[in-house]
Symmetry: C2
Amino acid sequence: MSDRLSTTFAALADPTRRAILARLALGETSVSKLAAPFDMSLPAVSKHLKVLERAGLITRGRDAQMRPCKIEARALKEADDWLEEYRRLWEQRLDRLDDYLKTLQAGGAPGEKPKETKRGRKK
Amino acid sequence: MSDRLSTTFAALADPTRRAILARLALGETSVSKLAAPFDMSLPAVSKHLKVLERAGLITRGRDAQMRPCKIEARALKEADDWLEEYRRLWEQRLDRLDDYLKTLQAGGAPGEKPKETKRGRKK
């Protein structure tokens, strides 16, 4: 379970951590400012930050007082690349449904209903 | 931790489950056929399938003998939409780096170095 992609997905599997990333997408900030809207203790927020840091999704500044957090969006690219492969699948399915609806609107009587990919695309 | 997006990401946070989805992207198949390449017991594979099923990423056929598994790629769309927001961030950063490299090639002396110059053009 220690491969990088698994670590990334596990880090994203929490609404608070995703909210932290959404906040950091606006710019870097300190832990206390991050914690404010969450109504969570600083240690609880720090725990989430550690998970994000281990996944490479954020980095912390060196300043001992502030240690501002910064998002490293690039670390999401691997997850995005993984999903890319599957995007094809749901887009194809929507395209087929679209074609089918057009045939219906044109008054055609399609001989075959679009099946739900029984035919796996071979690579 | 029970929101849908968290459940999806948690289901993806395992290399075996991602490998199962990759296999199912080629077409539906039975549990025993799915299990074959993994060198795992059927109960272990079934456990992974339950996690995928709860996340809506697969469905199982009704046939009591076979119960073939089918990928529901559409369930990945919410995760993809979430990542979409962040794609912008890393693409912007690459664009800025690109601009900087062009300035260098043109013999310019930009006042500010862009941070993070690790441009992995791998893959």
